[in-house]
């Protein structure tokens, strides 16, 4: 095995075992925050020692044992610090180093789900929940997470430790929530996974050479959730949505990182196996029970993905899906996307009057996407002057560099074509 494949294998092992080991250590000691720190230290120890010494025979037991030791050390120093007295602690972890067999660790199938419920607690901000989830459930090191979000490691460490403090203060027990709570908490879990995916999807357009692939990680964790709650239609919907979106990732940017919109993408670059899997999942989910926002978004992504050419897109179906989605949620982006679908079905005139109506919504009024969509439909209707104006406003308002470049190029094209036309006259 080459060094690189060894390191990849180690990374995969660590990510798979992290939630299992953390669940077992937390169950044994009750203190999630301390257990999480200990497991993180064990992860770091493994990622430095294993590439040199080789993967131990029982890697999970090794991690568990090292984490327990770190935790014992921590608890000892903590007790010493607090009471300054002689401590009679269990010497179990001081015994000669023997990784315990799995049967002694107490691996529970539901631990991953429990940890997700804990890390995606509604009392945490999105950014905190994302960071904690990636570390405690995803098995990433603080350095890797910091690197993925382009912030210093100390900042990420602080964010994680504050998140754990919040959990500690809110006294969330490490146990399965009641059935009623479960649905609500699953909603938070799915939302956090969605945020992780978005972060990865956005950053994939940039210099991602040294960044952990957060989209892949989000898909991996969502798969895990889907495996644990296979009958939860929204969890299935989210997995389908992520697959159907990620399938287009390669086609979405050009050689120099420029943004390529859906209708101009080379569809042969789309990942067909991901599309097939996503379509199968969403079809099953939607036949199964009541629809939710993730399922609807996945269904929309599926309609796009199933069109071999942009002109073959079934906009009528997309429009009806957005109409249902709009009724379910009060999301300004959904309203805007629905307006696009209206324009594609009924023509630019209908879209533009709908956009006028939507611009009364303060959330959309000054949003660059509003301007960019207006630009698009004015261009479609042949009104180059207005198209140009709106593309330029949109380019000014976006906070994303590739999007700004895309809109600036679009404005330049409209201006140039207008000029050519005048010359010919």
């Amino acid at each position: 095995m080459t060094q690189q494949t060894l390191e990849t294998r180690i990374a995969h092992l660590l990510r798979d075992y992290t939630p299992q080991v953390l669940g077992a250590v937390t169950r044994r000691h009750g203190d999630f925050a301390a257990a999480e720190d200990a497991v993180q230290e064990a992860l770091i120890a493994a990622s430095t020692q294993w590439p040199v010494a080789g993967i131990p025979d029982n890697p999970r037991g090794w991690l568990y044992q090292v984490a327990l030791r770190k935790l014992t050390d921590y608890l000892r120093s903590e007790v010493a610090r607090r009471a300054r007295e002689e401590v009679v602690a269990s010497d179990a972890a001081r015994d000669p180093f023997v990784a315990p067999p799995d049967s002694e660790i107490g691996i529970e199938q539901d631990d991953t789900l429990l940890l997700l419920f804990m890390c995606c607690h509604p009392s945490l901000s999105g950014a905190s929940a994302v960071a904690l989830t990636l570390r405690a459930v995803g098995g990433l090191t603080t350095a890797e997470i910091a690197n993925a979000f382009l912030v210093p490691e100390a900042t990420m460490a602080q964010r994680i430790s504050r998140a754990k403090q919040t959990i500690r203060n809110s006294k969330v027990p490490f146990e399965m929530p009641t059935h009623a709570e479960r649905t609500e908490r699953l909603g938070s879990v799915l939302h956090v996974l969605y945020l992780i995916f978005n972060e990865g999807y956005a950053s994939s357009a940039g210099d991602s050479l040294y960044r952990v692939d957060l989209s892949e990680e989000a898909i991996r964790l969502t798969r895990e959730v889907h495996r644990l709650v296979p009958d939860h239609a929204e969890a299935t919907g989210l997995l389908a949505l992520l697959l159907l979106t990620d399938a287009r990732r390669v086609a979405r940017t050009g050689d120099s990182g420029e943004l390529i919109p859906l209708d101009e993408q080379n569809r042969e670059l789309w990942n067909t196996s991901m599309i097939e899997e996503g379509v199968a999942l969403i079809t099953a989910a939607m036949n199964q029970s009541s629809v939710g926002p993730y399922q609807l978004q996945a269904a929309i992504a599926a309609v796009h993905d199933e069109a071999a050419r942009a002109e073959q897109t079934d906009w009528r179906q997309i429009l009806s899906l957005y109409t249902v989605l709009d009724r379910l949620s009060d999301n300004p982006m959904v309203k805007l996307n629905r307006a696009i679908a209206v324009g594609m079905v009924e023509g630019p005139g209908s879209a533009l009057s709908l956009l006028d109506e939507l611009s009364r919504d303060s959330r959309l009024k000054e949003h660059y996407r509003m301007d960019s969509v207006r630009g698009h439909f004015y261009e479609m209707s042949g009104d180059r002057d207005r198209a140009l104006t709106y593309y330029r406003i949109a380019a000014e308002r976006t906070t994303s560099i590739p999007e700004r470049n895309y809109l600036t190029a679009k404005a330049a094209r409209v201006a140039f074509e207008g000029l050519e036309k005048t010359k010919r006259l």
Binding site: S125, G126, A127, S128, F149, L150, V151, P152, A154, T155, M156, A157, Q158, R159, I160, R162, F197, N198, Y201, A202, S203, A205, G206, L241, T245, L259, P261, L262, Q297, A301, M333, T399, S400, I401, P402, E403, R404
Partner: protein, 133 residues
């Protein structure tokens, strides 16, 4: 969301660009303690990305490329009433939080502890595109 918070200080009078160099030791210390606390809070909140103070504008140069591409330096800069003294890059949950931090910076204590109310510019750092979901 990342923001750049740019602190502009009024230019000093006399030999020093930085007003602060003419303050009393007590006022200077109060100001430095304040900035230290501000940075610590930012770190503790997990929002700190980077922060730097800049040397005096009289030490700065204006650079342009000559015809052969070699740097032609000019400067020091023309005198101005205010200049960039330092900046922070913060990673926060909302624009409001960035404004709040900027307001704290603005109110840093000046001579005799009176708030300086410095102009602080807040600009969002451009990011990568969001998904087209």
């Amino acid at each position: 969301m990342k923001y750049m918070i740019m602190m502009n200080t009024p230019a000093g009078t006399g030999p020093s660009d930085y007003q602060i160099n003419n303050w009393s030791p007590e006022s200077f210390k109060a100001h430095m303690d304040f900035m230290h606390r501000l940075n610590k809070n930012l770190r503790d909140a997990g929002e700190w990305v980077q922060a730097e103070g800049l040397s005096a504008p009289s030490e700065g140069k204006l650079v342009r490329a000559g015809t052969d591409g070699a740097p032609i330096t000019d400067g020091p800069f023309a005198e101005s009433k205010e200049f960039l003294a330092g900046f922070w890059i913060v990673d926060v949950e909302s624009a409001e939080r960035a404004y709040q931090f900027a307001a704290e910076v603005s109110a840093a204590p000046g001579p005799n502890g009176a708030p300086l109310n410095m102009p602080v510019e807040v600009r969002q750092v451009m990011s990568l595109p969001t998904p087209e979901l």
